[in-house]
């Protein structure tokens, strides 16, 4: 059985749909700013997912439209959102206690780089004149039970963002459990990096793009795989 599940690379929306499908029903989830926010478009009512926003809310609904817009009801990206039945509000220390105490099942984050051991770099380019801004990225990276990354596999220059060691400043050490990219889904575990599926390329073509030893999913004993 091939692990290539698509003849073309996945677009952002298809990738978001895939991440959404993989979220276990009943989970509590935090979706990071940017691409991860797209995932919310594909969560179904049957999944009964509760979204957390770190500025102080559980039960966040879709983006607010027109007269729903309320300046007191925003998400972590400062975008007006809505409130679902069963929501709750809390202050910032209580909100980060939810994250830092390991109560979120999944957070989905963007990334500049992910290392073969799950190190994450997503907050700072390291450029000497850049103004640093970290927000809740480090808390999410170290706090959630599972950290999923969504990113393109390659930079515009064609360099792999899945790396042996991150060259960008780290957000968290050994925290990422899965990486969803346009070209493949990677599972990161104690035994290394497993490729769950590929999109528009074979395993061998993928391995040629990535400077990290990869193992295809179907060659591993299922019990040894983390995060499936």
């Amino acid at each position: 059985m091939s692990i290539q599940t698509s003849t073309t690379p996945l677009g952002r929306d298809d990738l978001a749909r895939l991440v959404a499908r993989d979220i276990v029903p009943g989970s509590f989830v935090n979706l990071g700013i940017g691409q991860p926010t797209l995932v919310s478009n594909y969560l179904t009512e049957e999944q009964n997912i509760t979204l957390h926003t770190e500025n102080g809310m559980l039960g966040m609904g879709p983006e607010a439209k027109d007269d729903e817009i309320d300046g007191d009801l925003i998400n972590a990206g400062k975008i007006p959102v809505t409130e679902l039945p069963g929501a709750s509000y809390f202050h910032h220390a209580d909100s980060f206690a939810i994250m830092r105490g390991g109560h979120l099942d999944i957070c989905v984050l963007g990334a500049f780089q992910v290392s073969a051991t799950g190190d994450l770099a997503n907050w700072h380019t390291g450029a000497p004149d850049a103004i640093p801004a970290v927000g809740g990225a480090m808390d999410l990276a170290t706090g959630a039970k599972d950290v999923f990354v969504m990113m393109t596999l390659l930079t515009r220059e064609g360099v792999s963002k899945l790396v042996e060691h991150c060259s960008y400043p780290l957000t968290g050490v050994g925290c990422v459990t899965r990486v969803y990219t346009d070209k493949a889904v990677f599972l990161i575990g104690p035994d290394g990096v497993t490729v769950r599926e590929t999109f528009g390329c074979t395993f061998e073509e993928l391995q040629a793009m990535v400077p990290v030893p990869l193992v295809p999913f179907d060659e591993k004993a299922a019990g040894a795989v983390v995060g499936v």
Binding site: G26, F28, T50, H52, M57, L58, G59, E83, P85, G86, A87, S88, Y89, F90, A93, F96, A97, I98, M99, R100, G101, G102, H103, L104, G143
Partner: protein, 219 residues
Amino acid sequence: MLTFIDTVGEAVAGIKDGSTVMIGGFGNAGQPFELIDALLDSGATDLTVVNNNAGQGDQGLALLIKEGRVRKMICSFPRQSDSWHFDTKYKAGEIELELVPQGNLAERIRAAGAGIGGFFTPTGYGTMLAEGKHTRFLDGKWQVFETPIHADVALIKALKADGKGNLVYRKTARNFGPIMAAAAKHTIVQVSEIVPTGALDPENVVTPGIYVNSIVKVA
């Protein structure tokens, strides 16, 4: 994953021998008597129990202690006029006691839920309850290093739950409920009323449903 359970017996059925069990309540206020009775009936033993007290009279936690199910108590105030079951076990050397100042008990439980690996507090500095503990001079005071108290299970009592597991409490019966719910791997709540999702004002939810695993309505 949140489950609504019909009986207190089913709710506590998964509690294993040797577990650390947090039990809400300060005195009788907020003490989940029905869940404790069910725990007694379940036969679970060799328990470490975290509660402010060590049982009153002939009910609840006091009976669990009387029946020899509690190997160790972590509490702030075991000795009361009616704590005779604890007193007997303690004097017989049949129960271990970790005595913790009440504020340290609360803060250590809170730390477990909030992912704090340890903290410094002035409480207890220079007393026998800080003997052997690491100390440091911080913020102009000598402070003592304290560590989180985690639990396998929390048994708590709330007034109402909605369909998402959000909880509200009643008056001083709130006490340890919210912090224990966050500190335990599995939180079991007895409530007087289950209301539809959306019936609790999101501004007034005290324990968000993310901290709750099992809910059982008690008449």
